[in-house]
């Protein structure tokens, strides 16, 4: 019994301890589970928190981006609007002004040229006073010209040109003089340009040029002896034809009919009809050089009442070298004109000859030097009187618009005393100008 009691007691104790152990284990498991739960809970709470904060951050960034985009759009709109002009509202405060009185934009191109020189001459004034004399030997300053150039298209078909001069001291003191006044039709049939009005005729080359544009201070003696100190001009019609290419690279023909002559070769009677023609033959020798050969003719009365006519014939030869890539600094121009005058008169005709020749050499952007020689038999004088001159000169171009020239002329005359003349000339231009010389 004792063993059974002991056994039962042991069993009881054993079961008791087992039960307690089991309970302990159970408790431990529960604790562990609880702990793990806690841990999990904390972990997920943390994750939730993280997620929350990330979501907040994203939302914040999105919001900022949206705001930024809105700002950008706003600024772009502002920028666009700042370029757009708001349409003006019409209110009673508007003041009306008409444009009929303010059409200056349609004014022609107006430019002005001044031509001034001073001369000192050894000649005596009571000796050298002839038609055609450039200087009568007095030593003084001359405002030879203050010339307006007024040029404009008149319509799509025509151009108008006025050259109005105010000659200086001389026989027309400070009076207004029309140098040229003509209009020109362009692109007429037969490759013709046609001008009408008062113009310098295309007899030779230099006759067309205005005084301020001459290559020397004065016109060559042969021209002033033929046409007096003015150009050979007239009122009439002039046609310029661009001919088909004949023997030259360019052939151009001028045919002009004018009335009223220069008073020397041609009677200046208003009804003296004078015919003038010029044939130009132009050759490009290379891209840097050309030669031009021209033939001129003119015929009209030298004495309208008596019915005597003069015929003039001219030959012009020009060679120019201007290297295309150095034209600012180097140019050589060699120009010659030869004239023959056949003047009918009561006691037989007078045949006379004359020429000039000059060479100008550009030495740099501002300087030219040149020399001219000329010979002229007096065309209206029965005795064969003549003169010749040698004229060196130096040009200084301050700019394209202001030029100074220093020139010396020695003139030998068979009929009067010779003279030495020094010139200092200044020419200046104001306003727009066309490039016409080549």
């Amino acid at each position: 019994m004792r063993w059974i009691t002991l056994f039962a007691g042991c069993m009881f104790m054993l079961s008791l301890s087992t039960g307690v152990a089991a309970q302990k284990k159970k408790d431990s498991d529960i604790k562990k589970a609880l702990s793990e739960l806690d841990s999990l809970r904390n972990c997920y709470l943390k994750k939730l928190k993280d997620l929350d904060s990330r979501i907040s951050a994203i939302e914040k960034a999105r919001k900022e981006e949206k705001e930024k985009a809105e700002m950008e759009a706003l600024l772009n709109a502002a920028s666009d609007l700042s370029r757009t002009k708001k349409k003006e509202e019409a209110t009673i405060s508007r003041v009306f002004r008409g444009g009929q009185r303010q059409l200056q934009a349609l004014n022609p191109n107006i430019s002005m040229t001044g031509d001034f020189f001073g001369s000192v001459s050894s000649g005596k004034s009571d000796v050298i006073v002839n038609d055609g004399d450039f200087t009568d030997g007095r030593n003084m300053f001359y405002m030879r010209e203050a010339e307006f150039h007024i040029i404009a298209p008149l319509d799509p078909f025509t151009r108008g040109k006025f050259f109005l001069g105010i000659p200086g001291v001389g026989e027309y003191p400070l009076s207004f003089m029309i140098g040229e006044a003509y209009m020109e039709w362009l692109n007429l049939p037969a490759n013709m340009n046609l001008k009408i009005g008062l113009f310098n005729t295309q007899f030779g080359i230099l006759n067309r040029w205005h005084d301020h544009g001459l290559p020397q201070v004065d016109r060559p003696r042969v021209l002033t002896n033929l046409f007096s100190k003015n150009n050979f001009a007239g009122i009439g019609v002039g046609a310029n034809f661009l001919l088909p290419r004949l023997w030259a690279h360019v052939n151009e023909l001028d045919i002009e009919i004018v009335t009223g002559g220069d008073g020397v070769s041609f009677d200046d009677a208003n009804d003296n009809v004078i015919f003038v023609t010029h044939l130009k033959n132009y050759y490009d020798l290379s891209r840097d050089a050309y030669i031009e050969i021209g033939f001129s003719g003119a015929n009209g009365y030298n004495d309208k009442k008596a019915g005597y006519r003069t015929t003039l014939v001219g030959l012009d030869i020009t060679y120019k070298w201007a290297p295309v890539d150095r034209a600012h600094y180097r140019t050589v121009e060699f120009r010659n004109e030869f004239f023959y005058s056949h003047r009918n008169r009561k006691d037989g005709a007078i045949d006379r000859f004359g020429f000039y020749s000059y060479i100008s050499n550009k030495l740099g952007r501002r300087f030219w030097i040149g020399i001219r020689a000329g010979y002229s038999e007096l065309p209206t004088v029965v005795n064969k009187e003549y003169e010749w001159d040698i004229t060196p000169y130096v040009d200084f171009w301050q700019s394209e618009f202001v030029m100074m020239r220093f020139q010396y002329s020695y003139t030998y005359r068979s009929y009067e005393e010779n003279d030495h003349t020094f010139f200092i000339q200044t020419v200046w231009s104001m306003g727009p100008h066309k490039h016409e010389a080549y």
Binding site: R159, N187, L242, R287, V324, D325, A327, R366, S399, E436
Partner: protein
């Protein structure tokens, strides 16, 4: 048949042969070789092109010789800048006896419309400023950006006188424009942003800021090609020029022209002004002088000897030397030589 009749008949046959040879092709005459180069790009097989001024000639002073008027006489289309650079062109037009190409006629084209002109005079519009250009700087061909509106205006002219080939000219003009974009910026950036947009940025002066932006992890400048990439060393570079020929080129490539050897346009440099320029060059550390090669070499060379500046004599126009046979080669020539000078 006697001799004179035979000569007459031969002359007539020859004339008609010449006419037939040109039949079907427009004869286009431009003032400058740069415009002629663009006409060739657009006109292709349907044009014959000639130009009045030589590539090594001062564009301001082209003598209006009769032989140039003869070229215009035969022209179907005349192309000029249209500002006050080619004053000599009006003399030639008046002599040419060709109604089709007179101002406003169907065969007359000015290439400046659509170009924003630089250096427009405002208050000082008089000859105290020298040989001033009243509308603004007319040397527009020196910017590749300007080739676009120039080509557009040329296209309009071609379409007007030769409407039968309009679509051909349009296609070629588009190709030309695309070629300009790609030559300017390189293929990658043009494909990404668009050529016109990039040109607008250059026009606004904000191109170099723009390409500093990042896109997909790298700066846009890494995608830059063409002349803009080659000319990066010129960006911000200060230079001297002889005349105001380079304004548009300098603007596009970010250069600054600090002074000119001419005291005023068209006024030859005086000794006093040359001294002033020498001082400016030394004080500012300028190392390149740009001179169109039709100007003198003496004064730029003197300045170079006294300051160490490099005087670059460059052809201003296509054909100015044998290497520059079109606008693209001209731009390559300028950029290569200027960058090389700057790098030295």
């Amino acid at each position: 048949m006697n001799k004179s009749k035979l000569i007459f008949v031969l002359a007539v046959v020859f004339t008609f042969t010449m006419i037939s040879a040109q039949e079907g092709k427009l004869y286009v005459v431009t003032t400058f070789s740069d415009y002629a180069s663009i006409v060739k790009e657009i006109g292709g097989d349907y044009v014959t092109v000639d130009h009045l001024s030589h590539g090594d000639q001062d564009p301001h002073f082209v003598p209006p010789k009769p032989s140039l008027a003869i070229k215009l006489k035969k022209a179907d289309l005349f192309i000029t800048t249209g500002l006050d650079l080619e004053l000599w062109a009006t003399t030639l037009l008046d002599k040419a006896r060709n109604k089709k190409i007179m101002d406003g006629a169907i065969g007359y084209v000015t290439v400046y419309p659509g170009i924003e002109l630089l250096q427009k005079p405002t208050t000082a519009l008089s000859r105290t400023e020298g040989d001033i250009h009243v509308y603004g700087n007319p040397h527009i061909h020196t910017s590749p950006r300007n080739w676009i509106p120039i080509s557009e205006n040329i296209l309009i002219g071609l379409k007007k006188v030769d409407p039968d080939h309009a679509s051909y000219y349009e296609e070629r003009q588009k190709r030309f424009v695309d070629r300009v974009y790609r030559a300017m910026f390189g293929d990658e950036l043009v494909d990404l942003i668009g050529g016109q947009q990039l040109m607008d940025l250059v026009k606004a002066g904000t191109f170099f800021d723009f390409i500093e932006r990042e896109f997909r992890g790298e700066k846009l400048v890494k995608r830059l090609g063409g002349w803009m990439k080659k000319a990066m060393p010129l960006h911000g570079k200060e230079v001297i020029a002889y005349h105001k020929n380079w304004a548009y080129f300098a603007h596009d490539f970010g250069m600054k022209v600090l002074g000119y050897i001419e005291p005023k346009p068209g006024i030859p440099p005086t000794p006093k002004h040359v001294e002033k320029m020498i001082k400016l060059i030394k004080d500012s550390g300028i190392d390149v002088m740009l001179v169109a090669d039709y100007f003198e070499k003496r004064k730029p060379t003197t300045i170079a000897q006294k300051t160490g500046i490099m005087a670059l004599f460059l052809p201003l126009s296509v054909g100015g030397n044998p290497e520059v046979s079109d606008n693209f080669k001209l731009m390559d020539y300028w950029i290569d030589h200027i960058v090389e000078a700057v790098s030295e």
